[in-house]
């Protein structure tokens, strides 16, 4: 166990090193220089460009820039090229904005997809199963931006509430109930949107896992010895079908920073996805690279956690 953890950590660190190189090179080898941000700006003289290049080490060879970038990143001194704010603070603020969206949509995904998947596995081939299967396919196929507009039209015209942004302006003097409901509406619609794809995929996965287990001999034995169907389904089948999902908790982690670029830009939600989008538009390399790097770290931690969980949960796995 300890040796597994040790080996795994070393492997992850090596991977991380290469990830840092790749995420650095992808940006710097792409055509276009960051110092040419806006050549049409009259204030952008040659001296300005020179000073800019010097200040951000852009006149140095790439391997020195690589060293400077990661040194600054680990000491927390990286600043955005756009407004000279520390990158980590910026990311942290936006992360706090994205967090409620992430929590609500994750809770929605995990609480809804299990009942749906289990029920359609138990009544396989029936009307409920077919309907949920078709709806799941529909939700996987629908482009999130299109679904967002359908939902916005529906909510705005049916309930007459506003949903764009984090809250409605000018509600400072309204009653607390109104303010809270306003917050809830603004939070709920984007969360539902980012949860739909997850619900569809996860419920299909739960269904196939359940079917897999229901076909096993010990489930047949349990049925044959006359246990109630609740006991068979929930005690014998479900517990074993849940195994792979325990490991999926680790894979939620990268979603923390990914945010949803499309949904956050539709709803003008000032979260991480929007920060990424703005950084890409402004060619703000430090932010792009930092976000890339942090999300790669989270992916690695996530896979590590899921390996560990599998080790703990499933006694058959011995590494």
């Amino acid at each position: 166990m300890l040796s597994f953890i040790g080996r795994s950590i070393i492997q992850k660190i090596v991977t991380l090193f290469f990830v840092s190189i790749v995420s650095f090179l992808i940006i710097y080898l792409a055509p276009g220089k960051p110092s040419q941000v806006n050549p049409l700006n009259p204030k952008f003289t040659v001296e300005m460009v020179e000073r800019f290049r010097k200040a951000f080490h852009l006149d140095q060879p790439l391997y020195i820039q690589y060293y400077y970038f990661y040194r600054d990143l680990f000491t927390g001194r990286t600043v955005s090229w756009k407004d000279n704010q520390p990158v980590l603070t910026k990311i942290w603020q936006r992360f706090l904005n994205s967090l409620p969206l992430f929590i609500v949509s994750t809770v929605l995904t995990w609480t809804l997809s299990f009942p749906v998947g289990i029920r359609s596995a138990i009544f396989r081939g029936g009307f409920y199963d077919r309907a949920t299967t078709f709806i799941a396919y529909l939700l996987i196929a629908i482009p999130s931006f299109f679904f967002a507009y359908i939902l916005i039209i529906f909510v705005v015209s049916r309930f007459g509430v506003s949903v764009i942004g984090m809250n409605t302006f000018g509600l400072e003097h309204a009653s607390p109930v109104r303010v809270i409901m306003d917050r809830v509406w603004h939070l709920l619609i984007p969360s539902v949107l980012s949860a739909t794809g997850g619900i569809a995929i996860l419920s299909r996965y739960v269904r196939s896992q359940m079917l897999e287990v229901e076909g096993q001999d010990y489930v047949r034995t349990a049925k044959a010895k006359g246990l109630t169907s609740e006991q068979v389904h929930y005690k014998h089948a479900l517990r074993n079908a849940l195994l792979p999902f325990v490991t999926m908790f680790g894979l939620i982690l990268p979603g923390l920073i990914g945010g949803s670029i499309i949904i956050e830009s539709i709803f003008s939600w000032p979260g991480l996805g929007r920060l990424e989008y703005e950084a890409i538009l402004a060619r703000d390399y430090p932010i792009i690279m930092t976000v890339n790097f942090i999300s790669a770290v989270l992916v690695l931690i996530g896979t590590f956690v899921s390996d560990l969980l599998y080790l703990i949960v499933d006694p058959r796995v011995r590494l």
Binding site: P31, Y66, R124, A141, I142, P143, I261, E276, S295
Partner: protein, 391 residues
């Protein structure tokens, strides 16, 4: 002698056997087709897919050239935001501005351009992006997965590792801008390559060079670690970054989507190859002295292709979705050219006045992606006998 007798006895028995009633013989293709027709959802998916394919080809033929039948870029300012199936106002239009079908089938947009013509033009973009991107990712995936699965146990020897490290370090140094060091390292690496080939002879003479012959890393480890590295990046963000930094063009989008989505295929193919290479028919082929290339292309790839086909079908759907998302964010194909994503993105500003500008491209994407997914899932059930029996 008894062996020979055995064969002479066995032969007539076999012949009589073949005349006995057997299950109706069907080729694999016929069997697949029969099962496909039974699976109604998958069949519907296939029909829509064929229809979409023909539409896209027709779209290319009808909307390109100097005098297209349907001109997607023709601006008719008096005919702004006309709803579906509305008649053109002939009094304000010049003869060449009148739509060829006599109506605006899918309405017009905020510049009076015919949405039907724009949708036709966009369908070709969606189709090519889907197919080319998936083509690239499947090719890369089969190649890397095949190498990892078939030659995985081979190890990169120390000598090859030294050569590769020299070349790689030189290349990296060049990329980072250290031209002199880089050139020296690359030249050193290239010079040492022929040396490394003759090394096996040299190492026997010099015992202190023995470590050069030891294995360093297996090919499998090398490729799969590379897959791990690529999987660390959030794909949509990576695609968006690269597409935003590159000059806007449809080819860049195809290549970038293709080069960031091959990891799944590589894993599938590797797993299939690992199990196939232990099968008896491969051992038999190898015992017969069949060459590696023939074993791979004639014996193994046809058996490994089913999961690749399924994941490619679903991959096309997700590539179309990704392209639409990029177009929606404004990073897609440059503006005068219409894609489904940018029709929707332009139309969203008129969502209450002209909802068809949002709904027409939205439903088009939805239906095409849905059909690919249904077809792919159906194909998975059909090509996998284990799943087929159960449902």
């Amino acid at each position: 002698m008894p062996k020979l007798q055995n064969t002479t006895v066995a032969k007539p028995a076999f012949e009589s056997n073949s005349e006995a009633p057997m299950a109706p013989k069907r080729t694999r293709l016929e069997e697949t087709w029969r099962l496909l027709k039974k699976n109604r959802l998958a069949f519907a998916g296939l029909v829509i897919f064929v229809f979409f394919f023909l539409t896209a080809c027709a779209g290319l033929a009808l909307t390109s050239g100097t005098k297209p039948v349907f001109d997607p870029a023709l601006i008719r300012l008096p005919e702004k935001l006309k709803p579906l199936l509305s008649k053109p106002n002939l009094a304000v239009l010049r003869p060449e501005q009148i739509p060829p079908l006599g109506t605006y089938l899918l309405g017009t947009d905020e510049l009076g351009r015919d949405v039907f013509a724009r949708m036709l033009q966009g369908s070709w973009v969606s189709l090519t992006v889907g197919f080319v991107a998936v083509g690239i990712s499947v090719l890369v995936g089969i190649f890397l997965g095949g190498v990892a699965g078939y030659y995985g146990k081979l190890s990169v020897g120390m000598k090859e590792a030294v050569v590769a490290c020299l070349c790689l370090a030189g290349g990296t140094a060049l990329a980072f801008g250290a031209i002199h060091i880089g050139l020296v390292l690359v030249v050193l690496g290239l010079v040492s390559f022929p040396l490394s080939l003759r090394l096996s002879g040299m190492a026997t003479k010099h015992p202190n060079l023995e470590w050069l012959r030891r294995g360093a890393l297996s090919v499998d480890t090398l490729i799969m670690r590379f897959v791990d590295i690529m999987l660390c990046f959030p794909s949509f963000f990576l695609i968006l970054t690269v597409v935003a930094l590159l000059p806007a063009s449809i080819y860049n989008i195809m290549i970038v989507i293709g080069l960031t989505s091959w990891m799944g295929t590589t894993r599938f193919v590797r797993a299939e190859f690992l199990s196939l290479r232990e099968q008896d028919f491969v051992t038999a082929a190898r015992a017969l002295g069949v060459r590696d290339r023939r074993i791979i292309f004639r014996h193994m790839i046809p058996n490994a292709v089913a999961p690749v086909l399924v994941s490619a079908t679903i991959g096309i759907a997700s590539a179309i979705l990704t392209e639409a998302g990029l177009s929606f964010l404004g990073f897609g194909v440059p503006p005068p050219h219409a894609t489904w994503g940018n029709i929707l993105s332009d139309g969203k500003n008129y969502i209450f006045d002209a909802p068809w500008l949002t709904f027409v491209p939205g439903f088009a994407i939805l239906i095409v992606v849905l059909s690919f997914n249904l077809f792919g899932e159906g194909l998975r059930d059909i090509l996998n006998p284990k799943l087929r029996e159960r449902y």
